[in-house]
Amino acid sequence: MEEAKETKLGENVICVSGIYEELQEEDLLDIFTEFGPIKTLHFNIDKRTGYAKGYAFIEYEKQNAQKAIDRMNGEEIAGQKIKVDWAFKKDKKKKHRRRRSRSRSRS
């Protein structure tokens, strides 16, 4: 059961790459909130330069992530092309642990 709960996490998370390094967090949020309420944003900074590292992870509240991907992948922000896709693979190798041992009943 733990496994089922875990697969739910991260399923509404997208990755945006190619982000202009001086883009402000609120501008990024403005753009992506258009598709639905955002639950979490990770817009990481380059610790050496202080500028945005160029990528972000956005977690939507509901199933709005697909819309964001469809509409924003390949678009431009501040003249720079971005990529948008899921962060985590959907078809993970499913390890079906529920292998029932076949008991042979002798009748």
Partner: protein, 144 residues
């Protein structure tokens, strides 16, 4: 790419390790015996876009050529000691490189090429820890 940081001390072998392969498989392990905590192991598959972000972070750092271009500086980096050890191993675009050093101490007076490694490690950790937080709701303690 594989990163390890750890030490053996009062509470046993405490370490943090993660690796990402070209298929996007991210594996994470965190072992701490402090307060009898057990080992945490996680695995998740990242998409190509995320793997590409990691690859670009590495390429932009110029770390792949560090050993070739500054072998003397790299040789002088502090070796692993009682406080612990760090390892970073990367295979990218036909090149491979591996660094082994102690835990980072103060940035003040740090060899300029070691700071390249330092900032790369911070950037990689930022990325990986964000992913772990989003997928597993965990927050690795960033001791370094």
């Amino acid at each position: 790419m594989r990163y390890y940081v750890g030490h053996k001390g009062k509470y046993g072998h405490e370490f943090l390790e993660f690796e990402v392969n070209s298929e996007g498989r991210l594996r994470y392990a965190n072992n701490s015996n402090y307060k009898s905590e057990t080992m945490i192991r996680k695995e998740v598959y990242l998409t190509e876009v995320v793997v590409e972000v990691l690859q670009n972070i590495i390429k932009d750092s110029d770390v792949m050529d560090l050993e070739k271009e500054h072998p003397d500086a790299v040789k002088d980096w502090p070796a692993p000691d009682r406080n612990g050890k760090q390892e970073l191993e990367i295979i990218l675009g036909g090149q491979d490189t591996k660094f082994t050093t102690s835990k980072f101490s103060s940035l003040v007076g740090m060899d300029e090429h070691l700071t390249t490694l330092y900032y790369l490690v911070q950037d990689i950790k930022s990325l990986i820890f964000s992913l772990l937080n989003l997928k597993f709701r965990i927050n690795p303690i960033n001791a370094n």
